[in-house]
C-alpha cells in the first residue's frame, strides 16, 4: 500500500466518542478516535485489553451495549454516516456491506441451527435468494473456506465441528454477501497456532480474491507483522499511533508502541545462552474512571513530562504516513 493516502477511504471513523452511563457518571470509553480503512487493505488495531479495540468494532457495527451510546463523531462508509442510521437501516448494512467475526466461534454460532442455515440466512435476507439457491451458494462458500466434504458438513451443527472449522464457518457467513469490510475481532486467539496459520492464510486468500478490506483486531505483534498493511495503536480509548506496518515495527514513534514491540520475546532461530530480562511496561491499563485530561499512558511512560498530564497531544506527523499522539514529537507538523 504505497499510495494509500491518495486514495479515497472506504470507511472513515471521525472524532468518534463512545460514552457509557454507570454509577450515575459518564465514562468515555472511546475518545475522539480517528482512522481510515482503504479498499482491499488490512488494517490492524492493536493494544491491550481495555484500550477500546473491541468497542471500536462494536461502534462501527452499531452494536454497542444498551447503556452506552455514540456521544459524538461520524462513521462514514463511503459517504454515508452510519452513526446516524436507525435500526432498520443498519440491518441492511450489517452482514451485507460490513461483516464481523468474533474471537470465540462457538459462542458466535447458534447451536440449534445447522451450519448451512446460518450461512443461508444472510443470503436470503440481503440478496433475496430462494432456499435452494441459498443452499447451493452456502455449499460453495464452505468449499471456498476450505471445509472438506462441504455437501455433508452443511447439514451439521456447530458442536460437530472443531474450533478451526467453526471459525471457517464464521468466515463463510461473514463473506457470503461479499462485504466491502470484514471486521475480525481476535479471530484466532482461541485457536492453536497451526490452526491460526490456516485461518490467516484463508483471510489473505479471500481478500485477494474478493478485494475485501479487513480490520483485524489483535494483541499479537507477530500477527500484525504478518497480516497488516497499516496499523492503528490504541491506548486508553485513544488512537495513539497510526502508520504503515513497516514504519510502525521498525520506527515506532509512541513509547507505548515501543513497549508493546519490546516486551514480548520474539522467536529466535539462533538462540544463545544470553537471555536478558524482557523490557517491562510497568503498571496496568487505567480504567475509564482513572483517565484524566492528559495522556492516558503518562503513568506508565518513561518519558513523562509536565505537559503530558495537562493535555492530550494532537497527532504529530513523524513521516508522510505515520502519525503519533505524543508530546515527544512536538514541533513536527500536525
Amino acid at each position: 500500500m504505497t499510495a494509500t493516502e491518495t486514495r479515497d477511504p472506504l470507511l472513515r471513523v471521525e472524532r468518534l466518542s463512545v460514552e457509557f452511563q454507570a454509577r450515575r457518571r459518564t465514562a468515555r470509553v472511546l475518545n475522539e478516535i480517528d482512522f481510515a480503512v482503504y479498499p482491499g487493505e488490512t488494517l490492524c488495531i492493536v493494544g491491550e485489553s481495555g484500550c477500546g479495540k473491541s468497542m471500536t468494532a462494536l461502534a462501527i457495527m452499531r452494536l454497542i451495549p444498551e447503556n452506552g451510546r455514540i456521544g459524538s463523531g461520524r462513521v462514514l462508509l463511503r459517504d454515508r454516516d452510519l452513526a446516524g442510521y436507525g435500526t432498520q437501516q443498519m440491518r441492511q448494512v450489517r452482514g451485507n456491506e460490513i461483516s464481523m467475526i468474533f474471537q470465540e466461534p462457538m459462542t458466535a454460532l447458534n447451536p440449534v441451527y445447522t451450519v448451512g442455515d446460518q450461512i443461508a440466512e444472510s443470503l436470503r435476507l440481503h440478496q433475496g435468494m430462494g432456499a435452494r439457491q441459498a443452499r447451493e451458494r452456502a455449499i460453495d462458500m464452505l468449499k471456498s473456506v476450505g471445509i472438506p466434504a462441504a455437501e455433508r458438513r452443511i447439514d451439521e451443527y456447530p458442536h460437530q465441528l472443531s474450533g478451526g472449522m467453526r471459525q471457517r464457518v464464521m468466515i463463510a457467513i461473514a463473506l457470503a454477501c461479499d462485504p466491502d469490510v470484514l471486521i475480525a475481532d481476535e479471530p484466532t486467539t482461541a485457536l492453536d497456532v497451526t490452526v491460526q496459520a490456516q485461518i490467516f492464510d484463508l483471510l489473505r486468500e479471500q481478500q485477494a480474491r474478493r478485494g475485501t478490506a479487513i480490520v483485524l483486531i489483535t494483541h499479537d505483534m507477530g500477527a500484525v507483522a504478518e497480516m497488516a498493511d497499516r496499523v492503528v495503536v490504541m491506548y486508553g480509548g485513544r488512537v495513539v499511533e497510526e502508520g504503515r506496518v513497516e514504519d510502525i515495527l521498525s520506527r515506532p514513534g509512541h513509547p507505548y508502541t515501543q513497549g508493546l514491540i519490546a516486551c514480548l520475546p520474539d522467536l529466535d532461530e539462533h538462540p544463545t545462552d544470553d537471555r536478558p530480562d524482557l523490557p517491562e511496561i510497568p503498571g496496568v491499563v487505567p480504567s475509564v474512571w482513572e483517565r484524566g485530561v492528559g495522556c492516558p499512558f503518562a503513568d506508565r511512560c518513561a518519558h513523562t513530562m509536565d505537559q503530558c498530564r495537562k493535555e492530550f497531544p494532537p497527532m504529530f506527523r513523524t513521516a508522510d504516513t505515520q502519525r503519533v499522539a505524543c508530546w515527544l514529537h512536538e514541533g513536527k507538523p500536525i
Binding site: 497451526t194 490452526v195 507477530g222 497480516m227 506496518v245 514480548l264 530480562d277
Partner: protein, 344 residues
C-alpha cells in the same frame, strides 16, 4: 550428571468416557500414552503442544491430581505414582502448581494473606509466627506490598493475581513448581513482568519448573530443555539451543514455522509449512506414527510402524523414522527451506 529431580517413565493416563456395558467395548481416551522425561534440579523443562496433546494431563498426573493409569513418577527417588494418603501429602509440599487462569484459581472470599498462608496451615508447616514471616517473605519475593495481604482477589489486577498464585506456590518452599500456561491468560504487557519474575525466583531459589505452554516464543525465552507432545506422546525432546536452532520432528518444524514473528513478518508466513486437517481422535489413535496423516514428509512406513524416540545428537531425541544423520549432524525430513522449493 546428578540424578534428576523428577523422572517420569512410560506414563499413561487413560480416561474411560463410555461403553464397557452390555458387552460393548469400553471407549477410552488415550490422553497421555507412554511419556518419559527427566527434569534436573534447578532447571526448567517446557512441555509444549497444541490443545489435546496431553501436556496439561501430564502435568496433572505428575502432581497426582489425576490418577496415572500406568508408569512411574519418581520425584527425588520416591515413586509418586504408588504413593497415597499421608506420605503423598508430605511429598506434595515439595511440589506446587500455578494455574493458567489467575482469576478462578483464587478464592474470592479469602484475603490475599490467608490465600498464601493456606498451604502452610493445611500442611501444618511451622508455628503461627513462622507462617506469618514466611507469608511476608514470599509477598516481597513476588513484588507485592505487605499491606496488600489484607485485600481480596478482586482488588488485584490480572498480573498481581498471578503474582499471588506464585506466592502461594512458593509458600511451602517447594523444590518443583508446575506452571500450567502461567502467562496465557495475561495481557501482553503483563506477560513480560511475570516471565521475568519466574526467572528471578529460579535464580534466587534454585527451583525447578515444569513449564506447560503452547507459546513457542515464551518457551524459548524461559526453558532449558523442551519436550514436544503430539496426541499423548513426546515426539521430540532436546536442550533449548539445539531445538530452537534446528527442530527435527516434522511436527516440531511445522509448529515452529506456524508462529508469526515481528522480525519474520510476511516473508516468514510465505515460507510456512502448511498443515492440513486436525489431529486424529485420541480415542482411536492410528497404529503407526500419530502425525503421519498430516505430515508433509510421511511415507508408507509411517502409517504402518510407530517410530520410537531415539537419540540423534547428545540429549536430542526424536520419534521419526526419517530423521537422517549426515556427517554426524541430524537432518529433518522437513525443513522450511525445502518446502519453498516444493511449494513453488
Amino acid at each position: 550428571m546428578s540424578a534428576p529431580l523428577l523422572s517420569v517413565r512410560d506414563l499413561k493416563v487413560h480416561f474411560r468416557v463410555g461403553g464397557g456395558r452390555w458387552g460393548r467395548k469400553p471407549v477410552v481416551v488415550h490422553a497421555v500414552d507412554g511419556v518419559s522425561f527427566d527434569l534436573r534440579a534447578g532447571r526448567t523443562l517446557a512441555i509444549v503442544g497444541e490443545s489435546g496433546s496431553g501436556k496439561t494431563t501430564t502435568a496433572l498426573a505428575v502432581m497426582r491430581l489425576t490418577p496415572p493409569t500406568a508408569g512411574s513418577i519418581r520425584f527425588d527417588g520416591v515413586d509418586l505414582a504408588t504413593l497415597d494418603g499421608a506420605p503423598l501429602r508430605a511429598m506434595r509440599r515439595r511440589l506446587q502448581l500455578v494455574f493458567q487462569d489467575p482469576y478462578s484459581a483464587l478464592n474470592p472470599r479469602q484475603r490475599a494473606g490467608d490465600i498464601v498462608r493456606a498451604p502452610l496451615d493445611l500442611m501444618d508447616i511451622g508455628t503461627p509466627a513462622e507462617r506469618r514471616a514466611q507469608v511476608d517473605e514470599v509477598f516481597q519475593l513476588v513484588g507485592l506490598r505487605p499491606e496488600q495481604q489484607q485485600l481480596f482477589p478482586h482488588q488485584f489486577s490480572g498480573g498481581q493475581r498471578q503474582r499471588l498464585n506464585i506466592a502461594r506456590a512458593l509458600a511451602s518452599k517447594p523444590d518443583l513448581i508446575v506452571c500450567d500456561e502461567p502467562v496465557s491468560a495475561l495481557d501482553i504487557a503483563i506477560r513480560a513482568q511475570i516471565l521475568n519474575l519466574l526467572r528471578r525466583i529460579q535464580r534466587e531459589r534454585g527451583l525447578s519448573f515444569l513449564f506447560i505452554s503452547h507459546d513457542m516464543a515464551v518457551v524459548e525465552h524461559i526453558c532449558d530443555d523442551i519436550a514436544v507432545m503430539y496426541l499423548g506422546q513426546i515426539v521430540e525432546e532436546a536442550p533449548r539451543n539445539a531445538f530452537f536452532a534446528q527442530p527435527l520432528h516434522p511436527y516440531s518444524v511445522a509448529l515452529m514455522s506456524a508462529v508469526p514473528t515481528v522480525s519474520g513478518g510476511r516473508e516468514r508466513a510465505a515460507r510456512r509449512i502448511r498443515l492440513h486437517g486436525d489431529p486424529p481422535n485420541p480415542i482411536d489413535p492410528p497404529p503407526g506414527c500419530r502425525f503421519a496423516g498430516r505430515c508433509p514428509a510421511a511415507r508408507e512406513r509411517c502409517e504402518r510402524e510407530a517410530p520410537q524416540l531415539r537419540e540423534v545428537a547428545p540429549g536430542h531425541r526424536v520419534a521419526c523414522h526419517f530423521v537422517d544423520i549426515r556427517a554426524g549432524v541430524p537432518v529433518s525430513p522437513l525443513s522450511p527451506v525445502e518446502s519453498t522449493t516444493t511449494a513453488a
